[in-house]
Symmetry: C2
Subunit: 436 residues, 2 copies
């Protein structure tokens, strides 16, 4: 590690490596270092992610950012870079109310080139014969807010990828281009200094112009100096920004995944539901109740089940770094999620949990849309609210555009996106309504 | 203390007591309790405040909310309730740029009935003969970003009040109306429960409808039940909301005040500067650099000096409750603030610090405008960003309107204000540009 770099990127999750890759590519000759707490890239919440992708958002910003990123990932996959892309689609189950509200959103998606198709209740019953769509006047159903399924919206350009493979691509290309990584390097703080040093103890004072001088690293004396610092710290963004008086509106929430294996023929045939995609597996299914969902993992013949619960689920300003934030709760699956999923798909009674884990979503609590902004010589990217990997390539390009002071970001495929839209000073984004 | 109330208000700062007062007044027969950690009202940041008031904001929302509150405070003062109101005015010193940018803001103020007048540089020199307005090509001045004073904007309906007296008024009237206080009562947490209890351990589950059941109090078993809970926790809002997954966009920042006494005739005559208001004292003066300011305290013949510094001043998500957050830093006055103030007013070389203290601003980090919203049976008010006392009466009325589900809040004097404007779901406020 040198003692001074042109750009230091903090964090080797998807945001950090995608930013580093695009910065390197468009600013040849600049010395760029990515520092990462763990011993490798994608060891934090990127690696714990479901790594789903979709372009079916209600917000134009999400649509555009995700769509271009997915195209890039697909381009990688098609040109021989395996990022584990699997397009099994997203199937949003809806009741009558939800269907009628979706009309406006679907039009906007069409305008932005996002393909969708609709399924009627009858078609769904044919394709998913085990599914319960009506609960009648069932008291239990009412207590559980089980909405009847009246139809579904399907997004074919949706699915999942392998976050480790994707991050490895960015990291390797970045290193090939001359960039470097410092792993096992724990950033203690951003160091603020005066723009013009006077040599008086206590600088910078209230009346002095200031900037980020660099970062201080745990166990290493002095300041690692950087002309520009990019913070891509995910759920740990506040830990760096708050102490020096910067602000990025991130709060973390624990999210859990439960990998369940079929022990009987009915659930097994649900996994292999035909008719949705060429993959011959059930799509990612979002139920109309409480944000419960499941997705297929074809190679392991299993399903991952989750639920974006709000009830009593804490917002965390500064998550710890040890196992605490990552403890899954089996009782949450058994008493929170399974009752919902098994109400719609009774075949889940044949499911056995074989693995479970937890990670942190880094919510932008204002509008659930990612942010990327520059203040002085600091660039901050994050707040992806649980859908960051699928927009990662576009966000890396926005970071590079911020660095180069470009008014417009050119996304993969040539779409232009106004760089300032994702900042807070001139923020101009559509709030997302389809949050899982 | 009973075991169940119609409304429990958490916090007896200005927001809490003003809310309690208006709730009591407009909902006779409801049993209302205010719980407060300290042994009396206004012992947190309300009592540590400068308690300034102004209607000179750039944001229409701030203008309207403050203007009506000030009218109410003035009404109190005029009808024999001493709230220590002193209208010495606000004097915003500006350079040419700032003056020309203020044109649009002044028009909006006029439209909202906010009176201002402008002073030329010559008039200012006549009224404040010691003031330095130009720094020439001084290198030091450039290093310190000292902007020349080209003129000033004066707000006559601005000044200060006594926060203890104001809070006492609300508290006493609330108690007369039948409300009660529980002092020395430390709220440990909000308690979330299912809307319909099933009697299963672990409720509420992800699929259950839920609400705030009440609050749990340190050292007291069980739940203090409330049909509605109002959180008016100021800088400590996150401590209550985050653990149960609610969110209010508050971050606290330490702010300091230095009370300085004149030791010479020049500073003494600055304190008694004539020509601005009937009070015969210098107004609150805001300098064009780094948010430095001073205000008169007539009875003590002194000035309180402060500065809303941003450099390296931490945002705090969950402040501690002991002295830590309240430690003033004398070096900050000497090396941070004094160099600015004494550049414009060399008479400050005759100032001696006789007292200093610190408190916390509860910033709404999105737009610096207060919020007030209702989610289920929880109402949250705060985020006043350092200018809460002056909008306190209006905010108390908004809380009451939220409780009564009134679309419009009737402010003092009859101005109507759309209640949902201060919420986050349909937030519709103008960002404030004149932040001190």
């Amino acid at each position: 590690m040198a003692s001074r770099y042109d750009i230091v990127v903090v964090g080797a999750g998807i945001m950090g490596v995608a930013s580093a890759y695009h910065l390197q590519k468009n600013n040849p000759g600049k010395r760029i270092l990515v520092v990462e707490r763990y011993g490798a890239a994608a060891q934090g919440n990127t690696g714990r992610s479901n790594a789903l992708f979709r372009n079916t958002f209600t917000s134009s910003d999400n649509q555009v950012l995700a769509n271009a990123s997915i195209d890039f990932f697909q381009h990688l996959q098609e040109t021989g870079v395996d990022v584990g892309l699997q397009k099994f689609g997203y199937l949003w189950m809806m009741d009558g109310d939800q269907l009628s509200r979706s009309g406006g959103f679907l039009k906007r998606m069409e305008a932005n080139g996002v393909e969708t198709r609709q399924y009627s209740k009858d078609e769904l019953k044919r394709l998913l014969p085990g599914m319960v769509t009506d609960f009648g006047a069932d008291e239990e159903a009412e207590l559980m807010s089980l909405r009847p399924v009246e139809g579904a919206i399907f997004g074919p350009k949706c699915g999942a990828l392998d976050p480790d493979k994707l991050v490895r691509f960015y990291a390797e290309e970045f290193v090939k281009g001359g960039g470097s990584f410092a792993y096992n390097t724990d950033v203690e703080s951003l160091v603020v200094g005066p723009s013009k040093r006077l040599g008086i103890e206590g600088e910078p004072f209230a009346w002095q112009d200031y900037e980020i001088e660099g970062i201080s690293i745990r166990g290493r004396p002095g300041v690692l100096q950087a002309e520009t610092v990019v913070v891509a710290g995910g759920a740990w963004t506040n830990e760096l920004l708050e102490p020096v008086g910067f602000e990025a509106h991130v709060k973390a929430k624990k999210r859990q995944l439960f990998s369940v294996q079929p022990t009987g023929p009915k659930l097994r045939s649900l996994v292999h539901a035909e008719g949705f995609s060429e993959m011959g597996v059930v799509p990612m299914v979002i139920l109309p109740t409480a944000g419960a969902y499941f997705r297929p993992v074809r190679d392991e013949e299993c399903l991952w089940v989750g639920c974006e619960d709000e009830v009593n689920r804490a917002f965390i300003d500064r998550p710890d770094h040890d196992i605490e934030s990552y403890l899954p709760e089996k009782g949450y699956y058994e008493r929170g999620i399974l009752p919902i999923v098994a109400s719609y798909f009774p075949e889940f009674r044949e499911a056995v949990v074989k693995a479970m884990w937890a990670g942190l979503y880094a919510y932008n609590t204002i509008d659930n849309i990612p942010f990327a902004f520059r203040k002085r010589n600091l660039i901050v990217v994050g707040g992806d609210s649980g859908s960051g990997i699928m927009k990662g390539d576009s966000l890396g390009r926005v970071v590079d555009a911020l660095y180069r002071d470009e008014e417009e970001t050119s996304l993969h495929g040539g779409t232009r996106y106004r760089t300032s839209k994702l900042g807070f000073d001139r923020r101009d984004v559509e709030r997302e309504e389809w949050v899982i």
